[in-house]
């Protein structure tokens, strides 16, 4: 299993292939069709923005991509591995090594310092204490939080907490970072700063799939997928995505209270 998981991506760079994915939630005798047949392919190195009305199935889709949930029907191939055939433990291993997840609500462990939150994924794969520590520090430095490593979540601003969760997502060098409304709780400036980090990661070859309600944010992605009623309504390439660095330069100077 491990061997096939670590294969080099196919020559065409295809990372994710999803075919006729459906998800039905059963609530008593009542059925909710959250996904009604999603088929999509994502190549290595893409920066994908998923948009759509509330309840259109975006989060459901992301959770399946992140191996947190399983589809009712359809196939999901990650690097040509049929994920739907994997056991619980194998799914855990994929979450651990291939995928980094960033949630709208951060999902950090409270009363646990930033560095320990970031170290969490490394606890579940064999890493020496020293390497784990170093990796966590460098991940926090990558998101610009090198000076906050011993702070607790309740001592950090929303933007900083989201950076911690981003650092946690990338500490294990994932192939993909999945972000479900990562900027939903942030002001526009902080949002753009966080998106900047995504863009930077993307330039290093990490595939990014991001859910957002904000069309401004979607402008930073190079592909737009629109969901409606559990189906894909449109799927377009964004020919000239914005650069977060450029946008930040043109914004008025930073609010001194918001010390990022």
């Amino acid at each position: 299993m491990d061997a096939s998981l670590s294969t080099i991506p196919p020559p065409d760079g295809l990372l994710i292939r999803v075919e006729h994915l459906t998800k039905v939630y059963k609530l008593g005798d009542f059925e909710v069709h959250a996904l009604r047949g999603i088929s999509v392919e994502v190549k290595q190195g893409e920066f994908l923005a998923i948009m759509g009305a509330s309840g259109s199935g975006k989060s459901t889709f992301m959770n399946i991509l992140g191996c947190l949930d399983i589809p009712s029907k359809g196939n999901y191939f990650l690097e040509d591995v049929d994920v739907s055939r994997l056991s619980r433990d194998e799914l855990a291993r994929i979450r651990n090594t291939k995928i980094g997840f960033v949630f709208q609500g951060f999902n950090l462990l409270s009363r646990t310092s930033a560095i320990e939150n970031v170290e969490l994924p490394l606890l579940y794969c064999s890493t020496s204490n020293k390497v784990r520590h170093q990796k966590a520090i460098s991940a926090l430095e990558r998101v610009g939080l090198g000076d906050r490593i011993h702070h607790y979540p309740n001592q950090l601003s929303g933007g900083q907490q989201q950076r911690v969760s981003l650092a946690r997502a990338l500490v294990n060098d994932p192939k993909i970072v999945l972000a479900d409304e990562p900027t939903g709780n942030l002001d526009s400036r902080t949002s753009i700063e966080v998106i900047g980090i995504f863009q930077q990661l993307n330039r290093h070859g990490i595939t990014i799939i991001l859910v957002t309600h904000n069309p401004e944010i979607a402008q930073f992605a190079n592909r737009h997928v629109n969901f409606r009623d559990g189906k894909i309504k449109s799927d377009q390439i964004n020919p000239n995505p914005k650069s977060a660095v450029e946008v930040l330069k043109n914004l008025p100077p930073e609010n001194p209270e918001d010390e990022l």
């Binding site: 959770n63 992140g66 947190l68 949930d69 619980r88 433990d89 855990a92 291993r93 979450r95 651990n96 090594t97 997840f101 949630f103 999902n107 950090l108 462990l109 009363r111 969490l120 994924p121 606890l123 579940y124 794969c125 064999s126 946690r168 294990n172």
Partner: protein
């Protein structure tokens, strides 16, 4: 996940809720402490019973009249019709493995000395009684073979009787009246303490069995014959010789039962310790109920903890924790609680049993066995009661755990 890391995160989780962790542990502490203390007290009782029985004297055999099957040390009086002085004489003459012999009978009654009186038992014995029982005289003399043959009215007082009848002390040579028969006091026994049944062995009067028979009971047979074998190795030999001799003298047919019984030290110790063993088991099982209750406390808290930390479980799963990692984490938390509780409980139990034995003047013995037992018990409690909540946590679906409110 590495064991060290699991331990670290378990300790953190428990320290986060110090008060709750402590209260949970308290159940185990009390349980283990109670088991240790109860075992210590039970085993102390067992030990002191053994001590007291061996104080009866070594190499001692006691022959009782009547068939004796019930396992009690003392025979019921109803069947006491078959031992005679001639039997005793024959044993002395014909059993080479027997060294000393003391025929015995018994009476009870009111004893009067001057204007004081005291009710107690009068033990009629032979002249070798104290030699057999290895019971020294404190002062005065013991009666001789001549006194026994002549049925003289002399007696020796136990310490308790002496203290009650002669508070001033000077008593050798004084006269007392036992059921209106005058006896001359010739000596006082050294203090012996309680026997295994809790009787005060010093609350007794010894007199020649011939005198007791002739003056007090008028009962023609012996209640018992006390015999000492030449050595410990001779005990079974003596027992066989006596048995054969008595069967012959009592004309008992080949397959018929003995009409007497011979008990040796080992028998008496076995019977008496069997009783105290039951006591120990009883005490310990009552105590282990509290250990069980402590275990249920752990389970309760772990279940609450799993519910409370469902999101944490979801977060851990979302970054790659497998079911067994979660299982291990919660199981280790339960184990840490029960082990820590076990350690403290052992200390608590040792202190408690020392206190009890000091206050109740009752010996207590904490054995390695009882420590290992209760420690093992608390590990088992931790695993047993920790497993269900831990498994419940481990079997959660990642997304359900993450979404849990």
């Amino acid at each position: 996940m590495k064991v060290v890391n699991i331990l670290v995160s378990s300790f953190r989780a428990l320290l986060r809720n110090k008060m709750r962790s402590f209260l949970t542990m308290l159940g185990i502490i009390i349980g283990v402490g109670a088991v240790i203390a109860m075992l210590a007290i039970g085993q102390g009782a067992e030990y002191s019973v053994k001590e007291q029985i061996s104080a009866l004297g070594t190499n001692v055999l006691i022959i009782f009249p009547g068939t004796q099957q019930q396992g009690g040390v003392r025979v019921s009086a109803g069947s006491a019709t078959t031992l005679t002085e001639n039997d005793a004489q024959a044993i002395m003459n014909e059993c080479p493995a027997v060294r000393y012999i003391s025929p015995g009978t018994r009476a009870g009654g009111q004893i009067i000395a001057g204007n004081l009186n005291w009710a107690t038992g009068i033990e009629g014995t032979g002249a070798d009684y104290l030699t057999i029982r290895q019971w020294p005289i404190a002062y005065g003399d013991f009666y001789t073979e001549q006194d026994v043959k002549g049925a003289t009215k002399v007696c020796v007082l136990g310490k308790t009787v002496a203290d009650n009848l002669f508070p001033d002390g000077t008593l050798v040579g004084q006269n007392i009246r036992i059921r209106n028969v005058p006896f001359k006091v010739i000596g006082v026994l050294s203090k012996k303490g309680q026997d295994p049944m809790g009787h005060d062995q010093d609350d007794t009067i010894l007199a020649p069995y011939t005198t007791v028979k002739k003056r007090l009971t008028w009962y023609p047979y012996l209640r018992q014959i006390l015999v000492s074998a030449a050595s410990v190795a001779d005990i079974p030999v003596a027992q066989n010789q006596i048995s054969e001799l008595l069967r012959m003298r009592h004309k008992i047919a080949r397959y018929d039962q003995d009409d007497f019984s011979i008990r040796n030290q080992a028998d008496i110790v076995a019977t008496a310790t069997a009783t105290t063993k039951i006591l120990t088991i009883l005490l310990a099982s009552i105590a282990s109920v509290s250990l069980l209750v402590g275990g249920i406390g752990i389970m309760n808290i772990m279940l609450v903890s799993v519910t409370e930390r469902t999101r944490e479980i979801g977060i851990r799963m979302s970054v790659g924790a497998r079911s067994k990692d979660i299982l291990a984490q919660f199981l280790v938390e339960a184990l840490v609680l029960s082990l820590l509780g076990g350690f403290i409980g052992i200390a608590f139990g040792i202190i408690a049993s020392t206190l009890i034995s000091d206050l109740a003047k009752w010996p207590s013995i904490v054995t390695a066995f009882s420590i290992i037992l209760s420690f093992g018990f608390s590990i088992a409690v931790g695993i047993f009661f920790g497993f269900y909540p831990a498994r419940k946590a481990a079997m959660l679906n990642p997304i359900d755990a993450l979404r849990y409110e």
